[in-house]
C-alpha cells in the first residue's frame, strides 16, 4: 500500500474510513487488491459517520466530525477530500427549548433518490435531524424528539444514540430508525408520529425481557428490493422481520455468539447478510480469538463462517456497528475495520480476504463507495 493524496482516473472504489483520530480514504481499482491511503482528514477528530451522496449528479462525501473541544458538525466535500466545507455556524443543533445539547453525530443518511436535497442524520442524545437543502440547514424531527418514551430511553456503552435510519424507497412517509437503547421505531406519516416496533426482540438486561421498547438494538439493515424484510443485530440476539418490524423472529442459527455490533446487507442479494459475532458481554472481542465474518445466503436460516485470509489465532478484534460495508461492484467487495486500526477487504462476496490497511487509529465506521468515473483526475 502506498500513500497518495488524490484519486486517479483508474480508481473504482473508495473506502471512507472513520477513526477516533480522523478520516482516511483508501483507493483501489476494479481488482480491489492494492490500495492507496489518503489522510488523515480532520486530524485528531473522531469521525463516527461518513456517507456518500451521488444523487443528482453529485459526488459528495459527507463527514460527521467531532472535536473533543469544539463540538460536532456535518462537513462535506465535492472533490473527495481535497477541500471541505466548514460552515460558520454548527449546522446540527438542538433547539434551545429542548434543553438538549448535541454530543455526537452517529449516522448520515442521504434521502431517497427522488428527493435529492434531503439528508437525515441520527445523533446522540437520541434524535433525528433532517435537511432539505443538501445539508446546509438541519432541523430536528420534532415528532421523535417529543416522543413519550424518550425519558425512559437509556444510554448504552456508546451513549444514547440514534444510529441507523432505514427509508422505504417507495413510500416517502415510512421510515424506521434504531436507538441504543430504545429499540426500533417506525413512522408512517413522514416523522410526525413514531411507534415502537420491537415485538419479539429480547432485552436480556431488563427485568421484563420483552418490553415494548428499551431494547439495545445495535444495527438494522434491509435491501431496497425487499424493504419490508429487515435484519437486526441486537445486544444479544439476531432477528428478522418480514413486516417492517411488526414482528421479529430469532435467526441466530449456528453462530458462535448472537452478540455483535456490525451487520451488512449484500448489495445485490436480499437473502444475503453479513455479521461479525463478538463474545458477549464485557469482553466484546471475536470468539475464540478468531476473526470471522459470518454470512447467511438464506435470510438467516443458516450462517457460514468466512475466514480465509483473516487471522485465526490471537485475533482479539472488535468491529463496531458501522464498521462493515460493501461496494456495489458485480462481485461485491466487503470491507470492515477494527478497533485495533486494521481494515480488511474481500473482492469476492466475502469468500477470501486480505488486509487493506493496518496501523490506523481505532476504526469506528467504514463506507465503501463505487466511484467509477466520479473520481477526478489527479
Amino acid at each position: 500500500m502506498t500513500s497518495a493524496s488524490t484519486p486517479t482516473t483508474t480508481d473504482s472504489v473508495c473506502l471512507l474510513v472513520g477513526t477516533m483520530k480522523g478520516a482516511f480514504f483508501l483507493w483501489s481499482d476494479d481488482a480491489r487488491e492494492n490500495w492507496r491511503l489518503d489522510g488523515p482528514h480532520f486530524r485528531g477528530q473522531s469521525i463516527y459517520a461518513l456517507a456518500f451522496d451521488d444523487r443528482d449528479g453529485r459526488s459528495r462525501t459527507l463527514a460527521a466530525t467531532q472535536s473533543m473541544h469544539w463540538g460536532s458538525t456535518v462537513r462535506s466535500s465535492d472533490d473527495f477530500g481535497r477541500t471541505w466545507s466548514d460552515a460558520e455556524r454548527q449546522n446540527v443543533r438542538f433547539p434551545a427549548e429542548s434543553g438538549l445539547a448535541l454530543n455526537q453525530i452517529w449516522q448520515i443518511r442521504p434521502g431517497r433518490k427522488d428527493e435529492p436535497g434531503v439528508l437525515y442524520c441520527g445523533v446522540e442524545p437520541a434524535a433525528l435531524f433532517e435537511s432539505h437543502d443538501g445539508g446546509d440547514y438541519w432541523s430536528v424531527v420534532q415528532g421523535l424528539l417529543d416522543h413519550a418514551h424518550r425519558t425512559k430511553w437509556q444510554p448504552g456503552g456508546g451513549g444514547l444514540c440514534l444510529h441507523t435510519i432505514l427509508l422505504d424507497p417507495a413510500n416517502p412517509d415510512r421510515m424506521l430508525i434504531a436507538i441504543s437503547t430504545g429499540g426500533v421505531y417506525r413512522t408512517e406519516d413522514g416523522g410526525k408520529s413514531w411507534s415502537a416496533r420491537n415485538h419479539g426482540v429480547r432485552a436480556q438486561f431488563l427485568p421484563d425481557k420483552h418490553p415494548e421498547f428499551g431494547q439495545c438494538v445495535h444495527k438494522v439493515v434491509h435491501h431496497p428490493s425487499r424493504p419490508e424484510r429487515i435484519f437486526l443485530q441486537n445486544h444479544w440476539g439476531l432477528y428478522r422481520s418480514d413486516d417492517w418490524g411488526d414482528n421479529w423472529h430469532d435467526i441466530a442459527n449456528g453462530v458462535p455468539s448472537d452478540f455483535g455490533f456490525a451487520m451488512l446487507m449484500h448489495p445485490h442479494d436480499a437473502e444475503t447478510v453479513f455479521i461479525v459475532p463478538l463474545e458477549s458481554d464485557e469482553f466484546r472481542c471475536t470468539p475464540e480469538a478468531k476473526l470471522r465474518v459470518y454470512r447467511t445466503r438464506d435470510a438467516g436460516t443458516s450462517w457460514e463462517p468466512l475466514s480465509e485470509g483473516l487471522p485465526q489465532a490471537d485475533a482479539y478484534e472488535t468491529v463496531l456497528r458501522d464498521g462493515l460495508s460493501t461496494d456495489s461492484m458485480d462481485e461485491a467487495g466487503i470491507y470492515f475495520g477494527t478497533r485495533s486500526g486494521k481494515v480488511f477487504g474481500s473482492n469476492n462476496d466475502g469468500s477470501t480476504w486480505r488486509e487493506v490497511a493496518d496501523g490506523l487509529p481505532p476504526v469506528v465506521c467504514v463506507r465503501a463507495v463505487t466511484v467509477g468515473a466520479s473520481a477526478p483526475a489527479a
Binding site: M68, H69, W70, G71, L100, A101, L102
Partner: protein, 92 residues
C-alpha cells in the same frame, strides 16, 4: 472594553483574528460571550453548547483564573479585563 483571546483554531470564525475586543458594556462573562457571538456566532457555537453551557473540554480564563473556579458564566467582568478561551488538556 474587554479583550478576548481565541485559540488559533477558532480564528477563522473571527475574520482570522486571534484577539477580539468587545466594546459593549458587559457585566458578566455570559454578557461578554453574547457580545462576541453577535459578531462572530461561529466562535461562540464552538465554545458553548445549545444549552449555553461552556463545552466540557473548553476553559475560559478571566485574567488568568478559570471561571470554573469562580462563578462560571455569571462571573463578573471588570472593565479592561482579559478573557482567554483555550482547549482544555484532555487525554486520549
Amino acid at each position: 472594553m474587554i479583550t478576548i483571546e481565541l485559540p488559533r483554531v477558532l480564528a477563522p470564525f473571527a475574520n482570522s483574528n486571534s484577539v477580539v475586543t468587545v466594546d459593549e458594556s458587559c457585566q458578566t462573562v455570559r454578557d461578554a460571550l453574547a457580545a462576541l457571538g453577535s459578531r462572530f456566532p461561529g466562535v461562540v457555537d464552538r465554545v458553548v453548547d445549545e444549552r449555553g453551557d461552556v463545552r466540557t473540554h473548553v476553559n475560559v480564563f478571566l485574567n488568568e483564573e478559570s471561571i470554573r473556579f469562580m462563578d462560571g458564566l455569571d462571573t463578573r467582568v471588570p472593565e479592561q479585563s482579559n478573557l482567554m478561551i483555550v482547549a482544555a488538556v484532555s487525554g486520549g
